[in-house]
């Protein structure tokens, strides 16, 4: 599900589990990333604020 919501940063491995690109998100992707994290049924995704 997260790969569908945020294909720019999430790909799936051969077992269907997410491989995350952890690079910082550009502003236009933040809302999508939050949606993806909220939608995870096991709360496995974490959105972290990076302090400048």
């Amino acid at each position: 599900m997260c790969a569908e919501l945020l294909p720019e940063r999430v790909t799936l491995d051969e077992w269907g589990y997410p491989i995350l690109d952890g690079s910082p998100l550009p502003p236009e992707l933040v809302a999508h990333a939050r949606h993806a994290a909220d939608a995870c049924p096991t709360l496995a995704l974490l959105l972290e604020r990076e302090d400048r």
Binding site: D13, E14, W15, G16, Y17, I19, L20, A44, L46
Partner: protein, 419 residues
């Protein structure tokens, strides 16, 4: 004059782990009531003591994190020693239980804990008896001076001794790691909990007697003190040795008596990595010096692999063990380690498809950081280093199948899973 033994000074032919032998070897524990907890933590900070469970986290920093919290705190001495190639914690708990309990009393004082839980593998009756006797002796001779000791026999699997898994287990839950756990805030029975390996506690018992400067006289400036290592494989004297941090591996092997030419050495046990035998002359056993070679000391388990052993058979066995020891909580770990084990089995039997090696490389590099704990990170580090160091042997088995040494007796210990 040798600075050693320190921890192991109390172990000899006549000692039997009782309180009297302990007091003869180590002298009495200073009255802890006279040490303000802050002062105690300062001394421990000056010593530079780091944990001996494998993560080498600075002890004083951990203590401060727990001591800063409100409410009653808990001390846990972790003696579960799930690493199969390690025997140092078992040695301490069976031969020097009072040294460990002294250290537990020190750590409890430092963080204001009234309870000290000593956790050990439930299958180990010898440790259970040793600890029960030691606690009884202390209760009789030092009433009112000690924390309340709780002896807890817990699951002894590889992952069960991980800090959050142990805390879960002690709180009545499953022995499985928790995601983003903070035991120093919310640990056993939801209280702020300090978890320290039993060897770390043993060092505390001596630091409070002899001081931080004494501790720093041994070892190196970056890694002060002495430490316990477990040596196995192609050596005449298997077992636990006390060394100063920075001791050359070659010296350790020489004093243990190498029994054959070595192909490779495993540093850091199953949570560590392989290095080829030609690297041995450069290796000095301290976390900082080993880091220059890309390896970690971990909990000090070292295996010397002789040339007469088939590395493919050995690694394949350990890969199966890893797959069986997954807590089963995270997809990448469960699936990845199973795939690695199955492919290793194929290579060992000469039935592997051409994609076997590339697959193994890919899986070894894609599981780290994707689980609730570092188990898949450690397992893949072990496998990746084996694929590098034993590349020729793997290629050989892929092409030609089992070799003459495949069915030789196993060197790397793999505990049988309880059904």
């Amino acid at each position: 004059m040798s600075l050693l033994p320190r921890l192991l000074a109390g172990v000899d032919e006549v000692s039997n782990g009782d309180l009297r032998s302990h007091l003869e070897a180590a002298a009495a524990l200073p009255e802890l009531g006279r040490w303000a907890p802050d002062r105690l933590i300062e001394e421990i900070e000056r010593s530079g003591l780091r944990g001996r469970g494998g993560a080498a986290f600075p002890v004083a920093r951990k203590m401060r994190a727990v001591a800063a919290r409100r409410g009653p705190t808990v001390l846990v001495g972790n003696g579960t020693e799930g690493e199969p190639a390690s025997g140092k914690d078992r040695l301490l708990l069976t031969e020097l239980p009072h040294l460990v309990l002294d250290g537990a009393a020190v750590a409890a004082r430092a963080v204001g804990a009234d309870t000290a839980i000593i956790a050990f593998a439930e299958t180990d009756e010898v440790i259970a008896r040793s600890l029960r006797r030691a606690v009884d002796e202390r209760r009789r001779s030092r009433p009112g001076e000690e924390p309340r000791y709780e002896l807890r026999a817990v699951d002894g699997g590889f992952v069960s001794g991980q800090e959050s898994a142990l805390v879960n287990s002690l709180s009545g839950g499953e022995p499985k790691p928790a995601f983003r756990a903070r035991p120093f805030e919310c640990g056993v029975r939801r209280r702020p909990t300090l978890v320290q390996n039993v060897e770390t506690l043993a060092h505390l018992a001596l630091i409070v007697r002899h001081g931080a400067s004494w501790y720093r006289q041994a070892g190196t400036a970056a890694d002060p003190g002495s430490t316990l290592v477990t040596l196995s494989g192609a050596v005449a004297s298997l077992g636990v040795f006390e060394i100063e941090h920075g001791a050359p591996l070659a010296d350790l092997l020489a004093s243990a008596g190498q029994t054959e030419k070595l192909a490779a050495v495993l540093i850091g046990g199953y949570f560590g990595s392989w290095l080829p035998a030609r690297a041995i002359p450069q290796l000095r056993l301290s976390p900082t010096q080993l880091a220059e070679h890309g390896v970690g000391l971990g909990a000090g388990a070292i295996v010397a692999l002789g040339r007469s052993v088939c590395p493919v058979a050995e690694i394949s066995r350990v890969a199966e063990y890893f797959a069986a020891e997954s807590a089963g909580q995270c997809g990448p770990c469960v699936n990845g380690l199973a795939a690695i084990a199955a492919t290793m089995r194929q290579i060992a039997s000469g039935t592997a498809p051409p994609a076997a090696r590339p697959n193994l490389e890919r899986w070894s590099n894609s599981l780290a950081g994707r689980g609730a704990c570092q188990f898949p990170d450690g397992a893949t580090r072990f496998v990746a280093s084996a694929l590098r160091v034993f590349a020729d042997d793997f290629e050989d088995h892929l092409r030609h199948g089992p070799c003459q040494d495949c069915s030789a007796p196993a060197v790397l210990p793999v505990p049988l899973a309880m059904a």
